[in-house]
Amino acid sequence: MTAVQESAPTFDNRQAFAEELIRLARQDPRIVAVCNDSVGSSNLGAFQKEFPDRLINVGIAEQDMVGVGAGLANGGFIPFVCAAGPFLTGRALEQIKADVAYSNFHVVLCAMSPGMAYGELGPTHHSIEDFAWIGALDNMTIVVPADPQQTREAVAWAASTDKPVYLRVGRFKVPAVTPPDVTFELGRAVTLREGGDVTLIGTGTTVSRALEAADLLAAQGFEARVLNMATVKPLDEAAVLAAARETGRVVTAEEATTRGGLGSMVAHVLAVNHPTPMRTLGVTEFAPTGSAAYLLEHFHLTARGIADAALELLR
């Protein structure tokens, strides 16, 4: 249908994550990985092989896992704490709040297979509340790379900062969207396409869909600006405000609940500073049974769904 869909190869960001983590670990002995019986699903097999002592698998014990991460940070290590998103965040939320955020430890919390990636496994396995939960915590950052290049850069950044980081590592196959000359910068949105009629803001898996939506809109004569909000917190408020002023309409799309996520954060900035017509696309209820692809259709998180939301604002 569109250029992106037809031809572009797609990637599993977990692959880029694992490769970069190993590259960094070779240079920096402080880097360790902590996981919850998830060596395979966190793609840490190669890391374990190369650094058996630096892979701490605590078993099915997420609260323990995050606490251990905080202790490792206290001891001078840089822990990448990896688990399926829903169990990392929901299960260990108080540990994340008290042990990591409040203590302000440099722990990198890596939410694997977030959003709707575990489609058929159901709402217990969908990590959609994480933006709201983690977004509410002081000191935390939320980073959501959209493609392998951005994933590598985000991992390197996360290792080099001194802050708690929440890194969402998607397993949904995504095309490359980041121009080679653009590097990851915390809190900085990447403008992937200029346009004056409406702004489409995506994060993670929804970025390429927003680009496709812009193609669909172009076919109807509308120029959409597309922002990749690779940092959900701190939000790039300047980019959001510029988009609102210059395009007058904003659509957000996220593989997360609309209650308290990216859409809410953008809406808050706009409501306070520059009220702007908006549509917020995301997950609106506990999902029915279905594959990830099916559920993205169900919740209108497709190129068509994003374009339709924009058209509602444009009409």
């Binding site: 060596v39 395979g40 698998n57 078993g59 099915i60 217990t124 049974t289 279905g290 099916y294």
Partner: protein, 290 residues
């Protein structure tokens, strides 16, 4: 210090006490076979599932549903029913098959496992499937809920029994140990926790990941009565499940083989959630039908 009194249970006889042992065993065996064959089809159909943990827990489920649990498939919310919770919710396929073959819903519905809009999600949902007491999937939730069910039973005019099945890897979750303490403190004699002790978890053996042994001693030290049985021996399972409620909560460590029943799946960690190929399905079916 207050001690919480334990309420004397009227001893409700095990459900099929009227049958002789051979008949009961035959029923459990027949249900196990139907469940395994259905699970195989469901996983082949969905291209997803947790076959190792399903086959591990099948004989436990079949014993419970064929001859132990006082439940009424036609009246799933009968207030006095025994409560059953599958805490290792990833074995949903086995639970669905056990429920369907016990009459809770049509066996034909198993063919929709994980289809779009199906009631049969990858993990059990009580609002969609009759016979499910509580939603599970995240590990470490079933036992605390079961403790609540057992306390409710004590507070009710018509008490019931509560059974909960846990994965052994699942016991690494701390929430279980909180519940284990509460149950012992309150002397919940109507509560039976069954540990599916197959010694494997998702990525490796339990003892290589975060070891559990000496497991029976741990439960005992926490104040539980402990029994160890062969988790594929229907008669032995029946015997321990149908013991009258005692003074203390009861833990049954059921020694099982993950993937039990299919030679190439048995005790192999990769079959936690691997999906068999067409040929493997044929081979598995042959072995299960033999």
């Amino acid at each position: 210090m207050t001690t919480i009194p334990s309420i004397r249970m009227p001893v409700r006889p095990a459900r099929l006490a009227s049958l002789d042992a051979a008949e009961r065993e035959e029923q459990a065996r027949a249900l196990s076979r139907s469940v395994r064959l259905s699970v195989l089809e469901m996983i082949e159909h969905a291209g997803l599932g947790h076959i190792g943990g399903d086959f591990s827990v099948t004989d436990i489920l079949a014993t419970l549903f064929s001859s132990v649990l006082h439940v009424r498939p036609q009246e799933h919310d009968w207030p006095e029913r025994d409560r059953f919770i599958l805490s290792k919710g990833h074995a949903a396929a086995a639970l669905y098959a056990a429920l369907a073959h016990s009459g809770f819903f049509p066996v034909s519905a198993l063919g929709t496992f994980m289809d779009p809009l199906s009631m049969l999600n990858g993990h059990p949902n009580r609002n969609k499937v009759l016979g499910i007491e509580t939603n599970t999937g995240p590990l470490g939730h079933g036992l605390p809920v079961a403790v609540g069910c057992a306390i409710a039973s004590e507070l009710s005019p018509q008490p019931w029994r509560t059974y909960v099945v846990l994965g052994d890897g699942e016991l690494q979750e701390g929430s279980n140990w909180e519940a284990i303490m509460t149950a012992a403190h309150r002397r919940l004699g109507t509560l039976t926790a069954v540990v599916d002790r197959n010694r494997l978890q998702q990525g490796a053996r339990t003892e290589d990941t975060n070891s559990l042994e000496p497991l029976a001693d741990k439960w005992r030290a926490f104040g539980w009565e402990v029994h160890e049985v062969d988790g594929h021996d229907h008669a032995a399972l029946y015997e321990v499940f149908s013991l009258a409620p005692g003074e203390r909560p009861r833990c049954v460590i059921a020694h099982t083989v993950k993937g039990k029943g299919v030679s190439f799946i048995e005790d192999r960690v990769e079959w936690h959630h691997k999906v068999p190929s067409r040929e493997q399905v044929e081979q598995a079916r042959k072995e299960l039908e033999a």
